[in-house]
Subunit: 388 residues, 2 copies
């Protein structure tokens, strides 16, 4: 059996020698500010729209590297490259973050999507720890409280559901808030984030987590009941797994061994449930009743699913010492490095078909940016480095 | 070389002996009215939501059969089964058609989507020719004019685009209106539909059709220019091909040989462009600049694309006599019957992966209902029957 600790260097080297230089070299828009994220296999820009999720996420990654790895001025400059653009053009008059902007910064898609706010808060929350700039801090704090205000009606006027018939609530928001609250804990007034964490965890474990199946549902009725419709039956194994390492981090923070144990159990359930016995890799979507999922891409293998699984397994192994996490880590590691890593050009493929072949060869697009791969490489590196 | 006329009987038999009985046997909701459309491979209901596109389309198909094939009371009853439910529960106070309802008829998704209106108009337009019921006629007429009123802002308050930055218009609406106007011609006051047809055709050929590539773009800027963004670069070969048989029908109606010629040329371009040289079948989406399409399902093979292509090729051959249409018809016929037709249970698979294997085995769902397969079988049957 291979020792996991020896893998730390592979993840570090891939991060610092390949992936980060790729974004440094290809994603800066010198003319209008911000980042290009639509990059082809070689790193060439193929579309210049600026998607706010990805602007925020790249600011976060470079701020994190600066804060946690090394105080390199070029990394801080990279973070500011996105932050300045976001600050100038990213919000509407009420402080909501647009979904996308033109290259020049004109709004294209309205703030219908609260995750633009989440990633903006994450960006400025991590950035202000690097810059100490009160303006950055204020943007993080204002955005965070705006999210909290909007959390029960996250789509606002763009919500297409008829009021009252079938009010659904989605796992995505409590899930991301559990991560965001940890990132912003030192930025917010003492106790603010902590006060939020317990009800979030309780909602995840008592509402979205299903005791019978051991899985997490993406959407439930607002009273917490199962909804037998396409959205209600939906399982997103990668999403569940990503959430479990957020929960493990919260467990460490709150010194809550039971939470860590529970999160690692759920993670294992989702890995087993999502694994494709025939071709390997983890499915994108499944239906809890085994009906046809509505997403036609259900059987595809996505980079973020596998990267997040590696993080969760590394943390699970470190925190619980269970051998099964180590074995699964090695399995997912082999699948991921054999299929997602591009051997010819830097950065990783994002989208594979069920068989494991690239479906598109882009390195960045509307949804894939400088985020899951570098964050994952960083998290796995740091987790394994201190592993037994 | 096989003669096409001999194929007419195959399409007729599949329609009348297999596909139509499948919907008659499986889609009636005896308890609450309307149709079930989410049917598994064997015909068993797996979800009871009522999607208005599919309610309207099934009413249309049974009305069409009654009007054009045989005055069977059971077919008229089938049409009324959906029409009564739609009439009772389908519209908001302003006459807009909801996107979906619960099994019982309570609205779930608001009327954000003008195609619900289009298929409702199509349903009641065809139905009123069967029933002669003035109420059915009035619903068709009112809905048609509501669509015309809304055509420049089809998503209404649910439009997520920031006003002014990048106003796009979509090919789907003029395309479907060219078909709908023909269906409703005898229902509307004389000249109403005809008056609309010429500007629609002009918009399709002068705005969405691109002379240089010979292809149709799904979205252009409202001034008619190309927009170099994901939506602007999108080509949907099946959509283009479906439109070309609508245009051929309009050409026949207006006695416009040049339009028929042009439509058949565009159809051939799209078939050539969409064909997958490696695995056969027609791709779902492509990017006109060969960049990665944003739709992850781009390489899948969809039933409606292939059924609509068979109609267009049959009509193209009949109207122009060009051998190339006959050859392509035989190629697409073989692909379609070998891959989409289920040899074990009635009705056809809807979604294949690139390799041609079923991705999900449902016979009906949120988007696939009693429509493209039966309409296509009917159209091909009738077209080939009188072919040379």
């Amino acid at each position: 059996m291979r020792e996991l600790k020896q893998y730390a260097a592979i993840y570090r080297d891939e991060l610092l020698d390949s992936v980060i230089p790729f974004w440094e070299q290809n994603s800066i828009d010198e003319k209008y500010g911000g980042y290009f994220t639509c990059l082809d296999r070689t790193g060439k820009v193929f579309d210049t729209d600026k998607f706010m999720w990805l602007q925020g996420r790249e600011v976060y990654v470079f701020s994190l590297l600066y804060n946690q790895v090394e105080k390199k001025q070029t990394w801080l400059d990279m973070a500011l490259q996105g932050a300045e653009f976001m600050k100038k053009y990213g919000r509407d008059a009420a402080g909501n973050w647009y979904f996308s902007l033109t290259r020049e910064g004109k709004p294209i898609v309205q703030p219908y999507n609260i995750f633009s706010d989440c990633f903006a808060a994450m960006a400025f929350g991590e950035l202000c720890k690097a810059t100490g700039n009160p303006e950055h801090k204020q943007i993080a704090v204002d955005t965070y409280f705006n999210i909290i205000r909007k959390q029960n009606h996250p789509k606002g006027i763009y919500n297409k559901l008829y009021p009252g018939t079938r009010p659904l609530k989605s796992f995505a928001l409590p899930m991301i808030l559990s991560n965001l609250s940890l990132i912003l804990e030192d930025v917010l007034e003492e106790g603010t984030a902590g006060k939020l964490l317990k009800p979030l965890i309780s909602e995840i474990l008592n509402v979205f987590y299903q005791k019978d199946s051991g899985l997490i549902l993406e959407n439930v009725l607002s009273d917490g009941n199962f909804c037998d419709c396409f959205e209600g039956r939906q399982i997103n194994p990668g999403h569940t797994i990503e959430a479990t390492w957020f929960l493990m981090d919260v467990g460490v923070r709150l010194n809550d061994a039971a939470l860590i144990q529970k999160a690692s159990e759920i993670m294992l359930n989702a890995v087993n449930y999502g694994w494709d016995e025939k071709y390997g890799g983890i499915f994108y979507f499944k239906d809890i009743k085994n009906y046809p999922p509505q997403q036609l891409e259900w059987d595809q293998k996505l980079w973020w699913v596998h990267v997040e699984t590696l993080i969760a397994l590394a943390k699970g192994y470190r925190l619980t010492g269970q051998e099964t996490f180590k074995q699964w880590f090695l399995t997912i590691h082999d699948y991921t490095w054999n299929h997602f890593k591009d051997r010819e050009y830097p950065e990783w493929f994002g989208y594979l078909n069920r068989q494991g072949e690239p479906l598109v060869t882009l390195k960045g697009g509307k949804w894939k940016g400088c985020f899951h791969v570098p964050r994952g490489l960083y998290q796995v590196w740091k987790t394994l480095e201190i592993n037994k």
